[in-house]
Symmetry: C2
Subunit: 350 residues, 2 copies
């Protein structure tokens, strides 16, 4: 197949991990006879420096024409003044809105070799295999804001339609897994959460084969630590999802390993590792490329419909996790390049 893939290297270690992802996708193309065209575009701090705009028009245009997007990371101390009028994160938020990618998908699974690095005791993380679906284009992130000398406000708004589509996404996903959806809200306090819960209950009626459970966000923050293995698909609104997915990501033992997909829009999905731009180690070939490579696998599966190719990439990563020297964050001493090379080698060996 032919596919046009936009690569957004971004800031810090973004360019290094993005190029690891591209290397793997190139190899997939070659091995399976696909034609992937890659074009690089600016986003975030890099785009501010070069174009004075965290999501320049030229990038927007490319995003709208793409079949899929591979993103490195965005942000860094250089642009981190929250009162600055232009900030790297605005590029991320604008991109999510532009592409309408309302479902941020983050699978969480523990690999035996990295489980040892989890801050949680092994008996707690045993059997963890869950997926977060975070609503990504609504809520307080995108609501009206005001600021005066004495006050500030942020509005959280959700429509039935926004809630329903992300819940259907969660229920559909649960059908291909263990058929359990946990919907997280703060329905004892928030009106948007009461609407969320009502919609969840209504949507659940269309999925009699899937169990729906409601959890309050504060309880969920506890249960993620006390019994993470009890969850299958967890779905929640934008801000709660931001906090809970980051909390959960720690359980895996390494942030460097976790991929994400932002999908659901009419066009391209966005695939990126969940780690940040890590400016302290940028440019030194110390970054773990596996989160990006696993994101590339999600890209193959979700945006290009290439499930077999995705599985081959994931198997190669598994093999590397088992046998290869890993990057520093995983207790190894290998460079970004060496780990990427190990994945490519494991891949051709198949």
């Amino acid at each position: 197949m032919k596919a046009s893939i936009v690569v957004l290297p971004g800031d810090g270690i973004g360019p290094e991990v993005a190029s690891a992802g591209v290397a793997v996708l190139r190899q997939v193309a070659q091995r399976f006879g696909h034609e992937f065209a890659f074009t690089e575009h600016a986003i975030g701090g890099d785009a501010i420096d070069r174009f004075g705009d965290p999501l320049p028009p030229e990038t927007r245009e490319a995003l709208l024409a793409a079949d899929a997007v591979l993103l490195g990371a965005v942000g860094g101390p250089k642009w981190s003044d929250p009162n600055a009028s232009i900030r790297p994160e605005q590029g991320l938020l604008a991109m999510r809105k532009l592409l309408g990618v309302f479902a941020n998908v983050r699978p969480l699974k523990l690999h035996p070799r990295t489980a040892a690095l989890s801050p949680l005791k092994a008996e707690r993380t045993k059997g963890v295999d869950l997926v977060f679906i975070r609503e990504l284009t609504g809520g307080i992130y995108f609501g009206a804001k005001t600021r005066s000398d004495t006050d500030a406000t942020d509005e959280c708004r959700y429509s039935v339609e926004e809630i329903e589509r992300v819940l259907r996404h969660a229920f559909d996903l649960a059908r291909s897994r263990r058929r359990k959806v946990t919907s997280v809200d703060k329905a004892n306090v928030l009106e948007t959460s009461r609407l969320w819960r009502a919609v969840a209950t209504r949507v659940a009626a269309d999925y009699p084969d899937v169990e729906l459970e409601h959890q309050l966000v504060d309880s969920m923050a506890m249960h993620l630590l006390t019994r993470p293995a009890d969850y299958d698909v967890i779905v929640t609104e934008n801000m709660f999802g931001d906090i809970l997915t980051d909390e959960a990501s720690v359980l895996a033992g390494s942030l460097g390993l976790s991929p994400s997909a932002s999908i659901g829009g009419p066009g391209a999905g966005v695939y990126e590792p969940i780690h940040g731009s890590a400016p302290d180690i940028a440019g030194q070939s110390l970054a773990n490329p596996l989160g990006t490579i696993l994101s590339a696998a999600m890209l193959l599966r979700h945006s290009l419909g290439l499930a077999q190719e995705a599985a081959v990439v994931e198997a190669a990563v598994d093999q590397v996790l088992e046998h290869a020297n890993l990057t520093r964050d995983l207790g190894g001493s290998a460079t970004t390049h060496a780990v990427t090379r190990a994945v490519l080698d494991a891949f051709t060996a198949k």
Copy 2:
């Protein structure tokens, strides 16, 4: 001294743990020659059942006249329909607003005997000794709400004054501790958070001897698990505090052990264990009374200025934690009564 203490037993295990707290306070009064007058009043589900109002006028009146308030727990499945027009939590929220208790204080310390119950590995929780200050009377909890057939909204609003007073509280507390304040916000996205950060920075200038660090809420959710021992005083807004304090409370190994104080208003402070109403074990003398007893110690210290008495209660609890049979949640088989009795005995032994 004379003090009038309002007791709000509430729901589920609330009455059992509240009466343990009262027993300890009675003993303090006797031992140190104080006169504490206790009056019980209704709140939450119990108040809904008896008066059709989660915070009846009679309770409000008593609260306004009290020197301090000891609360059990509020809520339960019986009243948990989020769409009901009257809910137990409304009693809590109305009480916080009525008393103006804007600072919710939650110390987190690990006791050697309970540390083993933490889901975190011992090397991570070593040396943890932090205090959360959660803003409690502002933010999205109390903002304007709307609901239509197609939409819902919640407004998060903060004034400079609301932010400043809770931050000063945090800085003052830090001065009596390790002189480090971590202020948590989402300043890369929210306008209220940018105001929060600006006020924090300005207030910090009055405390040159205290270090101020800013953290984004999502990063904080991770750092609490990866390096909890690095924190001293953590201060944040209402909703973030709700989520992060519950996440943090798990680290201690038992929810049943953690006290809280809600203070800062012109009148009485409210003291309560952080665990909920646990209706599944209500009425069976299975509840852990230590969280409430430690809350009573905070009451003595913060509302009555009885630091020595507070220290005696805390020492008695320490002794029980070391030597006594504990409740089920701590791996023991003792009843609520027996553990309370053990505290009273340890206390007189001093």
